[in-house]
Symmetry: C2
């Protein structure tokens, strides 16, 4: 039996969940893992919150030094969130000889490489399973389950809030505003929902997971990001008729010598496993060159699901004689990160309702090497004809150029929607 | 960089897949994992098969002793299958100081405990990720990703052949016989399909996975098993109308102080994540007391997917300073394995088409504490009325008793189907 002392920085939602599991499941973990996990100190600037969650008064620390200087603490859990003071605290813990487990996606996305170097220098571990997809063991599956493979594709629903909103819009015919309001009422979305609905949260997770999957540091700036605020009930209805479900997808793909990394609303074919991921659930879909398709599905947020991932990291760390560090694949040093990615597109134009419109718009697409898969003229929006184009796989830049030229056509009143389609 | 010598026992489908990955991906694994994995010897009684798969002549061993006595071999991969000689070979390897990686579900299901003890005695590792769900990292997810949880439920589609057959019957209106013939043509089913269609293959995997998930040795004999050979197109059509998809499910559930473990055809509600697992794909659905629902999905068979799991185990093993052994949860020593499990039922009776039938059949159910959720009398089969009962959750023994009594009723001509419904 191995004794492991734990310090927790922050006792908010996730910290509270981890604390609850560690105390409530102490005996079970002792029996099954042969580990005696004990919370030694909790750093929480609002001690009444910690006391309310059952932390004895003498375990509440007033400063980070009380954690870093305590010789009984082996592993520190950082669940403060944000960049500072979380970053300085983690650095202090690592340099003081503590392993670190964190749920902080923004910090790991922006500063992982720097923190990992500090961890290596001090021969300590830095683990962050809880930073992506809550309780779903996605990082462990990539690092410990798919190692034999070269991963070709990673695609996923990494944000539960937007998935809840899109599910409500799709299944209950709600408007975006109503679905967002309901998500806020249920505590799924924050008062300021920007990070979720504009795709920042999904982007951080995609950054972390694609770095692990491809074994290449992906700069945050190289990720294309687009949120769901422009999606309408009409888009969703049109998608359904064409056999698509709309999802905010995070996608990273390797082909030839290029890697594309992007987050945007996407029409997913109904038979794709990601199409059936509903409500606030998350999922990651991976393709390995040997294993083929893999999908992991589960709760991407919440105190106990995320707490489960934190305690899993604690146990994983405690069993290791030496910390594990990620090696990058030096062969990928010269791989290009492309912003001109390739996709199929769905586009709706509101056009003058007269002859020649189709010829003119199709000509613009053709001149820009955008090849049309199908076109449907259906219904009217005010006095205009709605023309729906589905394209074959085409380049993002070609599409952008075509859109610019289409806007300049006299017969085109407006471009109602442009949504990428998963191929 | 760590040098790791590998011996492979058997170069059939899976052995060939593992050999291909180890040779083809040697440099990538070296760069990313810092491991130099080299196949030293291959034991294959048909050397021409090995040569055809690219194994140099001087690497082909003629006897197990050439493997066990070779000091360059650190890890032996057993992919012969079946009980003997696989079991003796594994024992020899462990006692000779080799770690063992195996894909052998029948052997691990029947003799894991014995082999694990030998492994422990010699301080060697015994790994078997490839024995369940091919390339899906299900064992790693249970052992290294859900450790914080007490697992409450495990349910899954563990056999690709039967899932392919049921998908064809469901989506293309094929008969069981035609779908089986197609599966055989495609190489998904063997000439003698018993192990797949009668549920033995799924039962072995359920035995292994439930032992790991609940941390309690589950005797094979305690698992209820029923195959898919009795399923008809009519059952599938009726299920669809009621919002169910039929699957051969492997289920293990813990409640109060009981554990039930069973494999049988099951109506799965269309919105359940397992309902959308189509074709020859496999999936495991788990519920942890903290993490909630988790599902893993992917290819459950095939040379490269299963080879991917074997090479994953090799890398996992090679990174460990000390082998990992599973601890059972001593608290579960007294847990009862119940055969009288609880389920909802779908039952079709062919009854005389006259008044009083419903009253008589409902009385039998009521007398046996089988509570009716709904009843539909629909269509005729020959001169009989088809009466479809859906029950609330009821005990298997009550249901069996009710069925026996129903058969004795004069108004009941036959019981067309009894299918359990997932709740």
């Amino acid at each position: 039996m191995k004794k492991v002392g734990i310090g927790i920085l922050g006792l908010g939602t996730v910290g509270g969940g981890a604390y609850q599991i560690l105390t409530q499941n102490h005996q079970n973990i002792l029996r099954k893992e042969n580990l005696d996990l004990r919370v030694i100190k909790v750093l929480e600037k609002a001690p009444d919150i910690a006391i309310k969650k059952g932390v004895p008064k003498d375990k509440i620390a007033a400063s980070i030094d009380e954690i870093t200087s305590n010789p009984d603490i082996d592993i520190v859990v950082e669940v403060i969130g944000g960049i500072e003071p979380a970053k300085s605290f983690i650095e202090k813990c690592l340099t003081s000889g503590k392993h670190v487990v964190t749920a902080n996606k923004e910090l790991i996305s922006k500063h992982w490489s720097e923190l990992e170097q500090i961890a290596q220098k001090h021969n300590k571990g830095l683990y962050f399973e809880a930073s992506c997809l809550g309780g779903v063991p996605i990082i462990r599956s990539i690092i410990e389950g798919m190692q034999a493979n070269n991963i070709i594709e990673l695609a996923g629903i990494f944000n539960g809030t937007t998935n809840y909103i899109l599910t409500k819009m799709s299944e209950e015919d709600m408007s975006y505003a109503d679905a967002l309001a309901e998500a806020q009422k249920l505590g799924y979305a924050e008062a300021d929902p920007t990070s979720d609905v504009e795709g920042y949260d999904a982007m951080y997770k995609l950054n972390i997971l694609s770095t692990l999957a491809f074994r290449k540091q992906i700069p945050l700036e190289s990720i294309y990001r687009e949120g769901i605020t422009q999606i309408t009930k009409t888009d969703i209805q049109s998608g359904k008729e064409l056999g698509y479900t709309i999802k905010l997808l995070a996608i990273a793909r390797m082909y030839n010598n290029s890697l594309e990394v992007r987050v945007h609303p996407t029409f997913v074919p109904d038979k794709h496993p990601l199409a059936n991921v509903r409500d606030s659930f998350n999922a990651a879909y991976l393709v390995g060159n040997y294993v083929g398709e893999i999908m992991l599905y589960g709760r991407g947020a919440g105190d106990l699901p995320t707490g489960s991932a934190i305690v899993s990291d604690i146990i994983y760390c405690a069993h290791q004689d030496n910390p594990r560090y990620l090696k990058f694949d030096s062969k990928l040093n010269d791989i290009k990160l492309v912003t001109d990615f390739k996709s199929k597109y769905y586009m709706v134009l509101n056009c003058a309702d007269k002859s020649g419109v189709l010829a003119q718009t199709a000509a613009v697409l053709g001149n820009n090497q955008v090849s049309i898969d199908s076109v449907i003229q259906k219904g009217k929006h005010k006095e205009f004809a709605r023309v729906v184009f589905l394209t074959h796989k085409t380049s993002e830049l070609s599409m952008k150029k075509a859109i610019k030229e289409l806007k300049e056509l006299k017969v085109v009143d407006s471009i109602e929607s442009v949504i990428r389609v998963l191929d």
